[in-house]
């Protein structure tokens, strides 16, 4: 380092165990074994999990499980980063939970997350002032945990739901309320792994090409759905194909990655969603360099949690290899920022 160079505080890397959704189904799986492998492969230090995925009986988790988790983190140097909770508003047949039920549903999840040592939790919300104020009260009772609503495709920083939350956050003024940007909202192309999976399943190249064209068009989501519905049947789309390609439109957003800066002051956690790493070590559908730049420039020093979601389309690759490859990419981008801030 020369006299002119300065170090800057950088985000830390991490992984969500959701990345290993398929590996979890292999014989011999244990949670401790999986966490041990995250440590062994150097995919921390941040460790995130989905409570309803990784913990039997969640949110009712025994003291033994909690202390075993904390001990293992201590031993391995892993740091609990965020607990992905779920607000199951539709858990009752035929009706949705009301606000009081929803807060009662989240409270034990927040308490368990806090007991396990997670500084941040995340789930969906009911976007009202009274609900969010109730949420803040629960967070305050649990060591001032932070809450990060996930901005995930098809949402973006300026979609109506997020604008509502941004306004409510400002009105309430609690530092505990924040966001978790997910890279799925700011993609520049459709993941090649997804296209390949659809073609392998027998979908025609003309149909996948139409979906790519519609995805790339500068139109609103309803317009995209409308054009797709009008043109796809003529190309032989079955109802199952239509469902898959509508998911493609929904799950991958085209927000300009620089626009994450608009909410950077409220970012408490980050999901580095990805769908593949190519032969050059790059994510072919996401501009990681620009996003990392926005995070660093915005002073974000929390975790960037790797979230491999290609497992929804293919089991031909290992989640471990994919996360390791993404960490290499992200480490490279961060190391470019360790000097000259």
């Amino acid at each position: 380092m020369t006299a002119n160079e300065t170090t800057v505080a950088l985000p830390k890397l991490g992984t969500t165990l959701f990345s290993f959704t398929l590996e979890m189904r292999q014989p011999g799986y244990t949670l401790n074994g999986m966490i041990g492998k995250v440590a062994e492969l150097g995919l921390g230090p941040g460790l995130e999990m989905v409570g309803f995925q990784s913990l039997r009986g969640y949110p009712r988790v025994s003291g033994e499980v909690v202390s075993s988790f904390r001990d293992q983190c201590e031993r391995t140097g892993l740091e609990p980063s965020a607990m992905s909770m779920n607000l199951d508003l539709g858990i009752h047949r035929g009706r949705l939970m009301d606000e009081d039920e929803a807060l009662d549903y989240l409270e034990p999840q927040i308490a368990t997350s806090h007991a396990m040592g997670f500084p941040v939790c995340k789930s969906s919300v009911i976007p009202t002032r009274s609900f969010l104020e109730g949420l803040v009260r629960i967070l305050e009772k649990n060591g001032d945990m932070k809450f990060g609503f996930e901005v995930h495709s098809p949402m973006a920083v300026d979609s109506p739901e997020i604008l509502t939350l941004r306004e409510l956050y400002e009105a309430i003024g609690s530092p505990l309320l924040g966001f978790t940007p997910d890279f799925s909202s700011s993609m520049h192309s459709v993941p090649p792994s997804l296209i390949a999976a659809h073609r392998e399943s027998g979908m025609s190249p003309e149909l996948t090409q139409l979906a790519i064209e519609v995805w790339n068009s500068d139109t609103t989501m309803p317009q995209k759905f409308e054009r797709f519905a009008a043109e796809a049947p003529a190309l032989g789309a079955t109802p199952a194909d239509m469902g898959k390609l509508q998911m493609l439109l929904t799950m991958h957003g085209r927000q300009d990655p620089r626009r994450w800066s608009e909410i950077i002051d409220r970012v408490v956690h980050v999901h580095a969603k990805f769908y593949g790493i190519d032969e050059n070590g790059e994510e072919p559908s996401i501009d990681n360099a620009t996003i990392v730049g926005v995070l660093v420039d915005g002073g974000y020093t929390g975790y960037i949690s790797s979230e491999w979601e290609g497992h929804a389309y293919t089991d031909a690759v290992s989640g471990w290899d994919m996360v390791a490859a993404q960490h290499k990419l992200l480490r490279g981008l961060l190391s470019e920022r360790t000097v000259n801030g």
């Binding site: 959704t21 199951d88 539709g90 047949r93 929804a312």
Partner: protein, 135 residues
């Protein structure tokens, strides 16, 4: 169909019982769900549709009829456990291969879809068609 759909009815899922057969059913979703999420159980064996009255679902060592699932918001189906779908079928031949068609629909309680005034849980459907021998 994603990789997890292949897992819903595995090759070793079919078992003969005293009064019919049972199938081990695994989840095609990534997280544990309450029994209220078991929204669609459309089963046909050797081309014959199974009536809901002839089905029993065994989860966590407890038995439920299909209508009882509607009240099961506090009974959890852990993501890695298969549940047992027991079917009463007199005359079921345990020595012959059987063709299974299973339409499985999971109601996903945290993903709500539809217009703002009529939101409802996403239905995650999976379809299995395979011929199995009893284990």
């Amino acid at each position: 169909m994603g990789p997890m759909d292949k897992d819903v009815v595995r090759a070793d899922a079919l078992h003969a019982t005293g009064d019919g057969f049972s199938l081990d059913i695994r989840s095609h979703w990534y997280r544990s769900l309450p029994l209220t999420s078991l929204a669609v159980l459309d089963l046909a064996v050797d081309g014959e549709k199974v009536r809901q009255d002839d089905m029993t679902i065994v989860v966590n060592g407890k038995s439920f009829t299909v209508p009882q699932l509607a009240d099961g918001y506090d009974e959890w189906w852990y993501v890695l456990d298969p549940f047992e779908l027991r079917v009463r079928k007199p005359g079921f031949d345990p020595g012959a291969p059987h063709h299974i068609e299973f339409g499985f629909g999971l109601s996903i309680p945290y993903i709500l879809v539809g217009p703002p005034d009529a939101r409802q849980p996403l239905l995650a459907a999976s379809h299995t068609s395979r011929t199995l021998a009893c284990q």
